[in-house]
Amino acid sequence: MLWIKNGIVIDPKNGIDGEKMDIFVKDGKIVEESEVNKNECQVIDANNKLVLAGGVDMHAHIAGSKINTGRTMRPEEMRIVRQTAGKLRASMGRVLLTSPAIGYEYAKIGYTTAVEAASPPIGSPHTHEELDAIPVVDKAALPVFGNWHPVFKFTAEKDREKLKAFIAWALERTKGFGVKVVNPGGVEAWMYGGNVRSLDDEVPNFGVTPREIITELVKANEELNLPHSVHLHCNNLGVPGNYQTTIETMKLVSGMKNDDRQVLHVTHVQFNAYAGSSWRDVASGAEEIAKVVNSMDNVTIDMGQPIFGHATAMTGDAPFQFTLHKLTGARWSNKDSEIEGGAGIVPIVYLPKNPVHALQWAIGLELGLLVDSDKVVLSTDYPNGGPYTEYPYIMAMLMSKRMREKELERVSPYVQKATSLAAIDVEKTLYEVVQMTRSLPARVLGLENKGHLGVGADADIAIYNINPAEVDPSAQYDVINAEFRRPVYTIKGGEVVVRDGAIVAETWGRTYWVDARKKVDMQAIDEDLNSFFEYYSVERRNYGVDDYWMRSPERLEVN
């Protein structure tokens, strides 16, 4: 039992903005004062300190074949020693981290939940093995659907019931959390050396278009009433002029409604927010995108903010990764996966003086500043845009125009010409940044007990040495940037795991997965599944993950 005393709480979900209050914890949950015996409580003095729910990273590549191939390909990433082995594990990595380091580093910035954003379905046992090796945080994985042959087939046949049954089957087999879509149709075209360029390009051999795939998956997802919406990596990623495709894609869900959350989450939008017609005249399309997102009440996005320095591009968008390899000449790994899609991995370094990199950096910030704080989640698309350990930098930048002005001095002047970053006066408040890192990502994911501090919430709590009454983030951005990197406490499930910025205990979180089988007729696709498995190199009976293989699975049933 914990008694967190006199903290200054910001909890947007419950409308609390800087109130001095006590928080009580019992059995890993936040409870009413009357539930605990104060004499038995461990008292945590939070006087003049900021008390928040643990951060929620809803889009990061933290487990599975992509990041592990990245580690193998880049031993140079592993030379940073964050912690030597002792009572705790050795913790290694610059931007790519080992599994123990991933959990530790999240806890060290006060984050307690992280979602692997793209798991190849057949690789899901590998994804879960790695998730199981990440300490502290709660986890989930999103299997990738947008280039899976059964999805093409049921979309082409306009058979929504079968598509829903297939989604329910796939989520159960992969122990997945929701429907991820990466460059729908484009990765299948890559199997023939191509890509799709618009929402209406036909996918080879299937006669369906990205427009139809996205629309059908969103409708199926909504009819199943899954906790999370479709989570979409748009077509044309990384192509100048692509902001128009992004806007067109968002408009596909106009008129659709869900009372609890968005119906479409568009991810790492920075990579899909370029105006212009080539890399010579590329510019920001962030303002246009922000206008559209702000005008819709059913679309959310995350930033995909690049951080200057090393990064590794790794996505299910295999044709894009090949393009990046050709563009930079860097190492390139590719993995075509059965009838499910593919993936690619390419090292990258974002340089402040490089006009394109500086532009990308500015676009990420523009999105974070111009989009309403209840519609844009803070992310770097780890490790594509850079390390999540730099979230405090992004938080500080969003809150301080002065900090941005200082940073603008060191980046390519191309940014002045091609973006409006310098002219943006918006300074997000602490409350808004807490929304973007806690309550909003939890709502986007549909995790009711995360991202807030109300009674019944999981006792995932971060306490920082920031007194909102005294600190002016606009002027004292260095305080914000420094203090969010060293929580006084990170508490996970009621246990103190970080003290003064250092890991003090290793705990193990849960892995959420969604079971929607009750909502569908599983028999209806039985024969179809048998025929799909003709094209697999494994037997149907050996496909997927059973929950007893997992360290700590938690099934969320959809009724």
Binding site: T69, P75, Y192, I339, V538
Partner: protein, 418 residues
Amino acid sequence: MAYAICTFCGNVCDDVEFDVNTQKGKKLCALGLAKFREKERIKSPMVDGKEVSYEEAIEKAVEILVSAKKPLLYGWASTVNEAIRYGVLLTEKVRGVYDQCASVCHAPGTLAVIEEGIPGGSLGAVKNRADMVIFWGSNPLEAHPRHPTRYSVMAKGFLIKNRKDRKVVVVDVRKTKSASMADKFIQIRPGYDYAIISALRALAKGEDIEADEVGGVPKEELAELAEEMKSAKYGVIFYGLGVTQSRGRDRNVENAVKLIQLLNRYTRWIIWPMRGHYNVVGAGEVPAWEVGYQYGIDFSRGYPRFSPAEFSAVEMLLRRDCDAMLVVSSDPAAHFPRKAVEHMKKIPVIQIDPFPNMTTLLSNVVIPSAVAGIEAEGNVYRMDGIVLRVKKLVDSQYWSDEKILHEMLKIVEEKLEG
């Protein structure tokens, strides 16, 4: 007859069946059947030749590992990921060196990944799409007998309806059994892989080469091959130890990857190694996520350092740089150079293995284990990284590798903290 998943080679065939009572199998190749059939086992845990309990053997093993200055923990390719994970954690705890079988076979391929990456695909992608398949320095019919039927030559898939839809080429220094199933066999002079790949890169780019022949292959034949590769819709090179263990080693693979990079500017090509043991991929993947590297990992400073040929097993033994050794599911005494084995004879050796082998003869502590895939379950990675969970078909008196290593880790932790 029970559904099984074969734990012999990197194919990890998951369509097989086996009956432990009658010892009969279905769909298993000769190699797989031999693995599944009963054979001589190590009867009991032993310390210095004397039969002891599991607990006593583990206690002794832990004592050896904890008191050693630099223990070498080697093997891992023929056990499940769960056991490998405990092995990695154990190595980190005792500040030893982790190395695995790849360091004497496919590790040059890993070095090539570090240089250039690996443009690859799953075996299912090959089965569905590949209209051109090249086996380069690999001999599937003898080393991976069901590879051609299940995945690569006769396999039917989404775009490939029968054998005629596929062109198969074998490149090797001798006419192997696999050459007989190929549409084209190209015999090259030993040690000329690199030069031939360079020639193919030039020819595929449309450049001329000055030589009339390279590595024993006439220029015309190479030009024809380059053209065929460019006009394939989806091609694959499956390379074997003929490439990684001949002159050039990792540079051969790196050059081949560059050829694949080039070909993807015209059409689609992938390349993949024909990995040997059923979970040698896992023996690299597990340490990669736990500590960042695949093999040759030293923990003596309390954090992992990777240095192939410094921390790989043979070199460690040749330098007499380790003072104890744990061997899991491997037989270095039979396969390592004589000088390396001589050092093994001088230091305490612990063996964990279901079957007696040459290493048993020089081991001070012998801990018999259950056979994964028959007596114990767990995750393994097929040669293409696809995960399968091998099954337990029958109960056994033997402890699994996973259980043995978990116990060892627990006792090591107690000793080090106590």
